[in-house]
Structure formats: C-alpha cells, structure tokens
Subunit: 388 residues, 2 copies
C-alpha cells in the first residue's frame, strides 16, 4: 500500500462534512466529489472532451462490462483504459461484483470466486479476488475495488452474514495479491501505486455492518466504501446504514457511498461524512427526458414546456443552458433525437459535478449547513435537513 493518499483539509464544525484531497497516479481529486459513470468506457452520450469541459476530475468505469467487451486483449493493446478511452484524469473501476450479481446469468458462488455466464455471449468466466485485481491492473485504474458479495434487499440475516464473511476473506486475498504484485513490479509509469479500497457489506443489519466495517478496516485499505446500498431499500434505511458505519471509518481515509444517488441525497450524505459518490442517474434520467435543476427535477416531455423559451435551469452556466431552450429540447426528446439525450445528459452531469463543487466551497467557507438547508428547500427535497 502506498503512503496515505488522502489529506483531510477541513472538517465542518457543525456537521460531519469534510473537505480533502485524494492523490492518485493521474492527479489529485478534490473531495467530496462525484464520479460520472462510464460503464462501457464512455459516460453515455458524452466524450472525454465533454467531461473535461464539465470539469469532472474523475470517471468511474465497470470492470465487468470492460472484461466482457472489448475484453482485456483490446485494453492491453491500448496500454490501459486511460489511453483506450482517451482520458488522462483519474479513473475508479468497480470490482465487477455488483454486475455479476445483477446482470450475469447462472452465477455460482464458491469460496474460490464467482463463476458466471456473460450476459452478452453466454460464455462462462470465473472472477476470483485475485483475478479482479489483475484485471484492474491491466485497466490501470487509479482506484481499484476488491471483489465483494453484494447482498440484495431484502436479505435473510443468515445469508447476509455469509456474504459479509466471504467479502472479508476475499478482501484479504485481494490485498495480499495486490501487495505481492506491487513488490514484484512497478505497477505505474511514474512508480506510484494504484489505490485499493475496501468495501463494507452487512446488508440491513446494524451489527453486521459494524462487524464488516471492523474487519475491512482491520485489513487496511486506501479508502472505504459502503456497498450494498441503493439496492432497492427505503431511502431512510440507506441513510441509517450510513449512520451505523460512519463512526467506525477512520477519519484520515476517504469514504465512498457506492451508487448514491439523487442530488439531494448526495447533499445529505456529505453532511453525514461521505467524500465520494457515483451513480448513472444523471445520464440514465437524461436519456429518459429528465433534467436536474436547482429547482428540482423537470420532465421535459410535459406539455407545459412546449413553448417554454427558458433554459433547462436558469441558474446553470453549462453550454446547453446558454444555448438551447426547453421548447427545443422537448422537441428533440419527443422526436427521439439523439441530440436530446445528449444535451440532457450533458446538463445533468454538469449539474452533478458543479453541485459537488458548490458543496466543497460551502465547506471551505464554513457555510455547509446553510448551503444544505437552502439547496434542499429550493430543490423541493423530501429529505428533511438534518439536525446536527
């Protein structure tokens, strides 16, 4: 493991919000931050030139998907995911665990790893904790995630316990393998190491979550993720899970709330001590005609936007809002024009990235609690602002 890659710059005195910097091979990332999701080595509808314009400091990509298509030979040939997709800023890749459990056919969990059939061609593959690290070494991601067993919701206590324990054993194997690899060779061009995070599981059981946190922290990782959330459970339970785990997470490591979430959920979670987010919501909702704005979510196909010459968000400075009207974007969406999906996706990812930028400024300036209250109120959030 490399020396501590995370520097905590400031902690909000009235909430648990934190402001820090995470150092990776491909540069520093200011925390808290949002990671646009580029499943197939592209954030859907957007090129890397768009993400740079959007000022995204990092993207997330999916190990499972890249392993299936284009496959490791193609990525090796490109000398890694960065040059394959023409992106020279940090990349986080997930472990593939979540996708194996949600997408793949006929999976078989063994102690060795998880055997599954590709959802594309039906071919059988085996992901072991070691192999998933080896794949992410080929990908060259700045932040790697270890293979975990993500419990569904709801989940029997017995099963959650088995998954938790296996996740710990796999995490240990992943770390051991990675340390071996590190000692064998210099993994990165500049001699620095890829980062490896740990994932806390334990489903919806408070004691299991705490047990998992303790075990994962005991192994020791560069950062800690709360996994197995946003898998269909009520929002209250999602935040409760965060509250159970957060006090156990070391303050000098970044915390990643996996797969979260809606804009107001991220604002809430930052106040509860989270540093990192990812979700495909801005692009998926964008392709389905929804725009996220400072005044809440807007469904562009609604008839009341037919003649609306205002931009998607009057408080937004992205090029879409400088250039195009709701009326025009509604027309594009109604006629299923790809440009409609693209403009909405661009705006939404911009909104997410800029929201985290505003959050960082608010923490720096000691006004995060006020920012949170104002944001949630304007946004029309149903989440009550937390009493700190």
């Amino acid at each position: 493991m490399s020396p501590l890659p995370f520097e905590l710059k400031k902690t909000d005195p009235r909430s648990k919000a934190r402001r820090g910097v995470l150092k990776t091979i491909h540069g520093e990332i200011q925390t808290p931050f949002f990671m646009p999701v580029g499943t197939n080595a592209t954030v859907k509808t957007l090129g890397c030139e768009d993400l740079i314009q959007i000022e995204s400091e990092i993207v997330l990509s999916n190990t499972y998907h890249l392993f299936i298509r284009p496959g490791m030979d193609v990525i090796k040939n490109a000398e890694g995911l960065h040059s394959f997709m023409s992106w020279d800023r940090p990349i986080l890749t997930d472990s593939g665990g979540y996708q194996v459990f949600s997408l793949a056919k006929r999976r078989k969990i063994k102690e060795e790893g998880v055997e599954f059939q590709s959802h594309v061609d039906g071919l059988t593959h085996l992901f072991t904790p070691e192999r998933v690290i080896a794949i992410q070494e080929i990908l060259g991601s700045d932040i790697m995630m270890p293979l975990d067993e993500c419990s569904p919701y709801p989940c029997e206590r017995k099963e959650a316990e088995i998954a938790l324990k296996r996740t710990t054993r796999w995490a240990k194997r992943a770390k051991d393998f990675f340390l071996e690899e590190c000692s064998k060779k210099n993994l990165s061009p500049n001699g620095k190491c890829q980062l490896l995070f740990g994932i806390v599981q334990g489903a919806a059981y408070e004691d299991l979550r705490r047990q998992s946190a303790a075990e994962i922290i005991n192994i020791g990782f560069d950062g800690y993720a709360i996994g197995g959330v946003s898998v269909g459970e009520p929002v209250e339970l999602m935040f409760e899970t965060l509250e159970w785990v957060e006090p156990f997470l070391p303050k000098d490591h970044p915390r990643y709330f996996m797969g979260i979430g809606m804009p107001d959920q991220m604002v809430e979670a930052v106040g509860m001590g989270v540093d990192m987010f990812d979700t495909c919501i801005p692009t998926r909702y964008g392709r389905n005609g929804a725009a996220f704005t400072s005044m809440g979510r807007l469904t562009i196909r609604n008839a009341n936007y037919t003649l609306d010459k205002k931009p998607l968000d009057e408080n937004c400075s992205c090029f879409v809002c400088q250039k195009y009207t709701r009326s025009y974007i509604r027309h594009l969406s109604n006629t299923n024009e790809i440009l409609g999906a693209r403009l909405l996706s661009y705006h939404n990812v911009y909104f997410y990235v800029q929201l985290l930028k505003r959050i960082r400024s608010a923490i720096e300036e000691g006004r995060f609690v006020e920012f949170q209250k104002e944001f949630l109120s304007k946004y029309g959030s149903e989440i009550p602002p937390k009493k700190y």
Copy 2:
C-alpha cells in the same frame, strides 16, 4: 425576387466546375458547398456548436417534418427556425414534397395541392404551393423550395409528364404567392428577401427533363435544383440526367443537385457544373458504423479494426481523428453506445464539409481536374474520372 444573390467568381477552364458566392439573409456561402441534413431541426447526434466547429456554412432542414413536429406554433413562438435550433447561419428548407410522397400515408394529389396523413399521428393535412411558401416564411429559411411532384423510379412516361406539368404550375403559383407576400411586407429583419429556388423534374426522360428546365427557368428563380434524382435509379442515369439538364441552366444562378450523394459522386458532379449538395448519408452511415475517409469507406465493426490504434482517417484533422482510435470507436459501435454514433457522424459530416472546402481551393487554384483524379483514385471510386 431580390437582385441576383449569386456571384460566379471563377469557372474551371478544363471542366464545368464553378467557384462562387451565394448571398443570403444570414450571410454568404462559398460555392460549391455541402448541406448537412437536419431533418428534425438537428443534424442527427450533432448540436449547432458542433456544426460551427465543423465549419459548416449552412444546414438543410425538412419542412414536412417540422410542420408535423414541433408544428408551426412552436416555431412561430421561437420566432423562426434559426432561433429555435440556435443556429444563426443560413438554412435551406425543402418543400416537403419529397417527404409527402415517400413518408406520408394515403396521399391524394389534386390540382390544388397534395392531401396526406401525417406518418406520426395520422391527421390529415393539405400542402398547397402557397401554403408551403407560407410555412417556409414562418420557418424563416434563407433558401425556400417550392412544392413539387417528385416522380419515382421507374416511372411511366405519361405519369412523368403529368408530374412535370403540375410541378411547373405549382412553381408558378409558389412564385406568384411569394411575390405577393414580398410586396405585402418586409419578410426579413434586415429588409432582404428569402431566396426561392425552382425544381426541375421530368424523371428519366431526356426531353421531359429539358422541357421542365425550360419551363422552370422561364418562371425565373434565385437558383435551380435538379429534383427526382437519387430515388433508386442507377448511378449512371443520375449523372446522365445532370448532363441533360445542366446546359440549360443559367450560368449566373446556383445549381443544386438534390439528395446527392456519396463523396465521389459529389466530386464528379462538381466537375459537371453543380454548386450545391445535400444528403443524410454522412449521419445515417455514421449511425450504422461507417466512416468516410480519404481512402474510401470503412466499416468500423469489421474484426480487423479490433486492435487498430490508428484514427478513422489518418489525413483528417477533426477532433475525433485527433483523439480516438478505430479500436475504441469499434468498441463503442459494438456496444451500441450513442457516443459511437456521434463520433462517426461528427467525423463524416466534417469529412463532407472539408471535402467541399478542398474542392473550392482546387477550383480557385486551377487544379480541380487533378484534384478530382487524385481523390477518386485514392478513394477507390468506381466512377471513372470524366474526360473533359
């Protein structure tokens, strides 16, 4: 009709290639030029910011489609198509005639006009020569086309004759209506007029083509289009049709070869005296995984591009070719990622627009015939370079 909007700058001494300038309300366009097709007020996958980067001086949009969706109320509310789609350079709109004949359901041709059912909602509408001009006045297009009857291929002589004669009568009504409108009011913000072109029909009959040309020219328009081509006839016949009509077209007016074509066909047609082109080929082929390059057409899904780190076209300076490899774009195309369609469309439209730019330089520098020969040979064209 406004004073002659076309200025012929140079005629190639060894071919019929011409270099000129067409003046419109929204600025000058250098001829010969290519018009990217923006059917639904967007060149598929591209925004106007992309078209500006591509250096397109004009776009074409479709009256029929815009009339159906978003409808005239929305365009009126936006004060015209330019501000609706956020494009301040010239726009040519077609007459809707071709779409009524190819897309609409249960069309009924009468002397008054053509009655048809929308392909979207089945509602019945009537396009008359007058109404089509009125619609294009609302659109505010720089170049309008009059309602015509586009004969299919093949077409019985009797039917071709009827369509030709009706096209002439409709053209006369369109012009009369437009003159009336012009005298009634100032149609454009700066007091200049929209342009109105005439369309030559006559199917695959040499004498009918010549008759149509004579009748249309006799009415008098700002430019002349050869319609009813690229409707399924053999390529040789398409060029033959151009050869029949071209000698009759006045040299001091621009000539528009409607719906043409492949890159090598445009290069050939410029040498036969054409000034204007439009086709949805670069975007349609792009969405289907084809790239146009200086070395011919490339089908990106072919397995031999799996590990190919070259750009789509090594001689292209578009951002796609500066940034992305064939291997990456092939992957995007294989996974049906929207970005793949977008990158290929962008490159292809860039290739078309730049090809016309190179043609203009070649004519200016007196080396068009050499350029044509070299281009057709490198491109691997099956069209034999014309002997002039």
